[in-house]
């Protein structure tokens, strides 16, 4: 037993380990959420470092009327989605931008050519979605447009949208989105029923038929979400107010903006959110693999 304490490595190792553990315990980001996690339960945001967003327990972020006795299908009054009329001053710069970047395929009056469709009466919101997500300008129209780094900033996108809207009335408008009365529970329910079949229940996106795909929802802004739901870009269906009301769109947007884009990954690393495919690879390669390495260490080679 005495030799235990004479070991050269023992004391430094003990020191290192205890200091390390102490430091981690004191400075861990998780400790501040401990009380609210087990106690009040007022927020589902159990903060784990792996969610990476730095979101603390944020009962202030998407306040649900606590203890709400209303069933999930009722939403509080004020539906949170307000259509914006873009200022007339946007039209002129929009026309210039359109002429320089869009007219070669869509025609100078946006009525379409053989290469690109007619944009008139699609509405400012539709155009703003395509431009602000970077899907337009589009290099190759034979494959599905990909969301990428937008060429135009938000203001320019709105200017182009204002110009196209000025050419013909109608279509989806640019919305302002106020999520403060949103019911994320209702949003979750509606998301599952209407969106999960293409975008997956975690919003990760997946491949569709004939080369199309449903994109990931992790990078969309609230305005883009509303514009997409209403305008149904590409193969996405059109969800009009008769199908999903403004209040319901607000709830869905709140749910996507919070629990889809910042999922509660209380269990650790999310492994991509694609379910058993990722879990199988981790379980076999890391789980069984690590244990096989241990077997290799313990056992003989003959």
């Amino acid at each position: 037993m005495r030799s235990l304490f004479r070991g050269r490595y023992l004391v430094p190792a003990l020191l290192l380990v205890s200091v390390g553990l102490f430091g981690l315990l004191v400075f861990s980001p998780g400790s501040s959420s401990a009380a609210s996690d087990s106690g009040s339960g007022s927020s589902g945001f159990a903060n784990s470092g792996s969610s990476g967003s730095g979101l603390k327990t944020s009962s202030g972020q998407f306040p649900e009327t606590p203890g709400s006795s209303s069933s999930p299908s009722q939403s509080p009054s004020g539906n949170g989605i307000y259509n914006v009329s873009l200022p007339k001053s946007f039209i002129a710069p929009g026309q210039a931008l359109f002429a320089a970047n869009c007219a070669s395929c869509h025609g100078s009056d946006a009525s379409g050519t053989a290469r690109a469709p007619n944009l008139q009466s699609l509405g400012a919101g539709t155009v703003d979605f395509w431009v602000s997500t970077g899907r337009m300008p589009l290099a190759d129209s034979s494959i599905q447009a990909t969301g990428k780094r937008p060429r135009f900033n938000k203001l320019q996108s709105l200017e182009i949208s204002a110009y196209v809207q000025s050419l013909a009335p109608g279509g989806v408008k640019v919305p302002t989105v106020n999520l403060s009365n949103a019911n994320v529970g209702n949003g979750a329910r509606l998301f599952t029923l209407n969106c999960a079949a293409c975008h997956t229940i975690t919003g990760a996106g997946d491949a569709l038929a004939n080369g199309a795909y449903a994109p990931s929802l992790h990078y969309a802004s609230t305005r883009q979400i509303v514009e997409a739901v209403r305008s149904g870009p590409g193969n996405m269906p059109h969800f009009g107010p008769g199908n999903i009301s403004n209040a319901e769109v607000r709830d869905i947007t709140a749910y996507v903006h919070s629990y889809i884009q910042h999922p509660v990954n209380r269990g650790g690393f999310g492994l991509g959110g694609i379910g058993p495919v990722g879990e199988g690879f981790v379980g076999l390669l890391i789980g069984v693999g690590a244990l096989m390495l241990v077997c290799f260490w313990i056992g003989d080679r003959t």
Partner: protein
């Protein structure tokens, strides 16, 4: 001990080894070092286990619980294994295998015990033997009855007929009736017959392909005899995939296809939800719909059993 000790004949002397026999030597060339490593590991293990106790009470964080208990068990395990591998006698030691077979006489005797004794008895009382065999068989058969039959009801009409009837109103999952203006072109909605919202076999997918007025000619779908099954550009199909029953919730508006997310069967909506790709064998049954007073109703139920195939399906 008060009872008589049992004495038995000693046989071969029990093996003895010297402490410095090479077989008794440990694996490690420097056992002191190996012991130090194992000791550190076990100490980390102890700290980890205590750490788990602290983590459990102080913070309900899964990651803290896992790292403390995981490192704790890993330390203890590694230390113990290192002790066994590096510090214990490495041998090699040998053990003899003895053949399993009994002698020829024993095997013959066993066979004889069964065949001869048994044979005489059953041979003399063939009636009893036969009766017991039949009885066991009978019991075996009837024992399956409560085990299997009591589990549930026999398959019945519900396999063939849904709750969609003539004039069933179409409602959403919340029970709200569907109005003709509800869907835009390219819209999709899951509907049920009134009173059965959320019922699995009744799930129906409603699509709006065009915005038509009553004066316009109806949608042309390439399915014969069904030109009046659509209404004002609306078309309805069973949402239950004919492959394995998953809800066909994925609608591609531009290519006008319904795709089943489970195994990617692709149904051509304009051709009557005919499967063009993937494992689904049959088209999705179509629900004939009509508009009355601005709301959507079913003209009739489905004309065939919905969902996957089964033996009794004609």
């Amino acid at each position: 001990m008060s009872d008589e000790p049992i004495t038995a004949e000693p046989t071969a002397p029990l093996p003895v080894a010297a402490l410095d026999d090479p077989h008794q030597l440990p694996y490690a060339r420097h056992p002191g070092r190996a012991q130090a490593v194992a000791a550190v590991s076990m100490t980390i293990g102890i700290l980890g286990c205590i750490g788990f106790g602290i983590a459990y009470w102080v913070s309900d964080q899964t990651q803290w619980e896992a790292i403390t208990l995981g490192v704790g068990l890993l330390g203890l395990g590694f230390g113990l294994t290192a002790w066994g591998k590096y510090l214990m006698a490495q041998g090699p030691f040998v053990e003899e295998r003895h053949p399993f077979n009994s002698s020829e006489e024993e095997v013959k005797a066993m066979t004889a015990a069964i065949t001869q004794r048994g044979g005489i008895v059953v041979g003399r009382r063939k009636l009893l033997g036969g009766l017991f065999a039949i009885g066991s068989l009978a019991f075996g058969v009837v024992a399956a009855f409560p085990l299997i039959r009591s589990l549930g009801p026999k398959p019945g009409r519900t396999l063939f007929v849904t709750n969609w009837k003539k004039n069933s109103p179409l409602v959403t999952v919340d029970g709200r009736p569907v109005h003709q203006n509800d869907l835009e072109v390219g819209g999709v909605l899951t509907v049920f017959p009134k009173g059965f919202a959320g019922s699995s076999p009744d799930q129906t997918i409603l699509l709006r392909l065009e915005e038509l007025t009553p004066e316009d000619p109806p949608l042309t779908l390439q399915s014969p005899g069904r030109s009046d099954w659509t209404a004002l550009g609306y078309v309805a199909y069973s949402k239950m995939c004919t492959h394995l029953g998953c809800p066909v919730g994925l609608y591609q508006e531009q290519t006008v296809e319904l795709v089943c997310p489970c195994h990617q069967s692709i149904f051509n909506v304009l051709a009557g939800a005919v499967p063009e790709f993937g494992p689904a064998p049959r088209p999705l049954p179509q629900l004939p719909i009509k508009v009355r007073d601005g709301f959507l109703f079913a003209q009739d139920g489905y004309n065939q059993p919905i969902g996957p195939g089964f033996w009794e399906r004609p």
